[in-house]
């Protein structure tokens, strides 16, 4: 497991994508959830831009993140001199009542993001999603153009090949940029270890339980695990066939709940 030469290719490609976004999409912003993926991405952005993060980091805040997550956010924002923007999400009672309960809770972030988009009109938003997380994310592009309302139309996605990305944005629309799209959960952990990237210690097991994926308090549950180190997490992931987002209630409420969230603009 010490050979990480396959990670180099992923790293170089992510750096290339970040530089492409920074060169072609202004203003640019990044969504930071403080989870392992977007924090690893933040590190990659610093690598790409020689130690700096010269654009805002947006946290879509429902007020329901775990305490450790908020503490981690404030610590890293200070240490890495981040331009942190906390975007307060509208309350749950304003969401579409037709959605299942946990999906409704998650939809708050979509609305928070829409508010940010409307107010700041960024051309590009960097997001740390990965194809292997969830089946509909597997259909994504690295540069994914969104309509003015932020919606995703999977049928009319532009072709994307040989590193020629959709960097031309119609007025009022924006592009979601996904530098980690080809990474897997195990890649993220191996990279986090190799680069000594900070992470919230809720990912490590305490009393036989750990968080595999970090979401809001009310819609995320920890899994049974004894993994007390990154190596142990990697070993656990090699053995398991449970999906990563099994602890995310909203993904599993109905067959298409996540697809409906994403079509409406969820990450």
């Amino acid at each position: 497991m010490t050979d990480t030469h396959d990670l180099d290719a992923l790293e170089h490609s992510a750096i290339t994508i970040v530089r492409e976004a920074y060169a072609t999409l202004r203003p640019l912003a990044m969504l930071w959830s403080m989870g392992k993926d977007s924090t690893a991405l933040l590190w990659l952005i610093r690598k790409a831009l020689f130690g700096e993060v010269p654009f805002p980091l947006v946290q879509l805040d429902t007020g329901l993140e775990l305490d450790e997550v908020y503490a981690f956010r404030d610590m890293l924002a200070r240490e890495w001199k981040l331009d942190l923007r906390v975007e307060l999400c509208p309350p749950e009672h304003e969401m579409d009542p037709m959605l299942p309960p946990a999906t409704r809770a998650a939809a708050r972030k979509t609305e928070g993001l829409k508010n940010y988009l409307q107010r700041e009109s960024p051309q590009g938003i960097i997001v740390g999603i990965r194809r292997d997380e969830q089946a509909t994310r597997a259909k994504e592009r690295i540069f994914s153009p969104r309509s003015a309302g932020g919606t995703w139309d999977v049928r009319t996605q532009p072709p994307e090949l040989w590193g020629y990305y959709a960097t031309d944005v119609p007025h009022g629309a924006h592009v979601r940029v996904h530098p980690l799209l080809h990474w897997t959960e195990i890649d993220i952990w191996r990279y986090t270890k190799r680069e000594a990237i900070p992470y919230v210690d809720l990912y490590l097991a305490r009393d036989g339980m750990r968080y595999r994926s970090l979401g809001e308090k009310n819609i995320t549950v920890p899994i049974r695990s004894d993994a007390g180190s990154i190596d142990a997490i990697i070993a656990e992931l090699h053995a398991t066939r449970d999906p990563e987002r099994a602890g995310r209630v909203m993904d599993n409420e109905s067959e298409d709940s996540f697809e409906r969230l994403r079509a409406a603009g969820y990450m």
Binding site: A135, K139, Y164
Partner: protein, 636 residues
Amino acid sequence: MNDVSRIVVAGHVDHGKSTLIGRLMLDLGLLHQSKIDEVIASSARRGTATEWSYVLDSLQEERDQAITIDTTRLWFTHRERRYNIIDAPGHRQFLANMLSGASEADAAILVVDAAAGIGEQTLRHAYLLAFLGIKHVIVALNKIDLLDAVQVRYAELARELRAALHRTPPAAIVPVSASLGTNVVARADSTPWYAGPTIADAIEAIRRVPAPVERAFRFDVQDVYRRDGERVLVGTIASGAIEAGAEAVLLPAGVRVRAEKLVRWPDGDTSAAWAGESVGIVLDGDRFAGRGDTLAAWTVPPCTAERVALETFWLDATPPAAGERLRLKRGTQAVPVVVDGAPAIYDIESARDADNDGGAQHNIVRLAVRAATPVVFDRRADDAHGSRMVLLRGDRVVAIGFTTDALAAPASAAAQAGVVPVAERKQRAGPVALSEREERAGHRAAIVWLTGLSGAGKSTIARAVERRFFERGVSVAVVDGDGLRGTLNADLGFSEADRRESVRRAAAVAGALADTGHVVLVALIAPFAADRAAARANARHPFFEVHVDAPLDTCEQRDPKGLYRRARSGELPAFTGIDSPYEPPAAPDLVLDTANITLDHAVDALAEFVEERTRLQPGADANEGARVAPAPERHR
């Protein structure tokens, strides 16, 4: 850990691509029970038999219509090897999505419905896999459970498929039933006549296609960052490699530069960087550069031209029209272009040129474009990687493909002495493209300049190599300084200005010969480094400087034409080495020390050197450019 091998699964709609992948996952034991339950429940809800394609077809619309709309990816590890399966949609409407998935693949599984036979999209996908450069193709002959005389039908279809796939002969043609799991992972009892691999066996032979480190150096500038008072050019090395301190050419400006430092964060300076790696490059003299510029090996530069020939796969419903304005993206360049003349359409399904432009969509379109500013690119025959491009109409991608050749400019200003602007330094007009000549000759055109003192052996070596090449069928020509003195250069003396002019004329003659596909050996003293540098900078072809290096006293002892004796006696004024200086090359591509090696050795060394660098096969043609300014081979 080993690299992930990426496999695209392609084929006609409904031939069972997603089902095959779902089945492969199931039989390899990679599906979680919850996923299996979900697929069974989802199939039951739609009133179908268990549909393993639901593992991949995750969108509501896909499940309802039983098609794949966009590419999906799955990762798995099997027998210690890692794979990334890309499910490409088979419906013609979603070809752009199929290409997006296939463009990154190392290999392909082409799924063909054995009952329905070869479908329209089977041919199109097969053609596109070859077009994209995917060489490893496995055919899954699916739904054999629906056939009566399986063995006979298999033989028949295998023959048809081999003919259809002549551009990329399949590695295996596997008879399978994806829905039953026949020959997917386990070998089936129902096909005892089939001795070949199962799908799971066949994918084990797939390897990731390596980054093109052996090719000539290419680096498309993404952006320039100001850092600690320096300009840092950032980008990803497309091919080849660069070392700190190495020389390169900055295009389209055409200036020789030195990569003073290679930088990364937080590691600081690095000594070398290779194809596939992102890096920051600081040039000497804080030279100005910007997004869209290309740094390239100066020994094997790419083409720079305003008129470019393209071979594209046309995606859009509206064909290109002569005079239409489009945008060409090549590397990090995005240049407005005008379609120059009527495009030619090749219909993939009928394998014929189409006579009207109605059928452009989803077929091959060859066209010429005229750009507002010079485009930097490789010709597809030289380097497929550096020839990849896309065409946009407004902000829509309408075609993807390759740059195939540099075309002559409609009119260009007369070249002046010294370095000709790059934009004007292109192949002359003519109905026969250089690439066609090179293809017929079986080698690249090139200029090999032998420089050295009189009597060092330049002409002798050049003539011997000429004879050897001629016997091997190489188009070869020698431009000899002494010969030119009696003809083209008869009006010139030996002043510095006249010597410069004689070098310029010899270079022009060599260039004209190379334009017609020749390997040109120039044997000329060319004593001044600046004149040789100008000849190299103006060359439209690969240019190699060979120092035929013998010390003055050796040459003077040889004195084959009695020239040194006459110079010493004052009969020949301004004789190089006696009373006119010789500036030896600072960075020759090859050194032949004829004082210490035999003529045969020198001839062998030069012949081998030239042969290697004029080879046409991709991968071997430009390897000397992989290291910028390599240490010259020295034959002493």
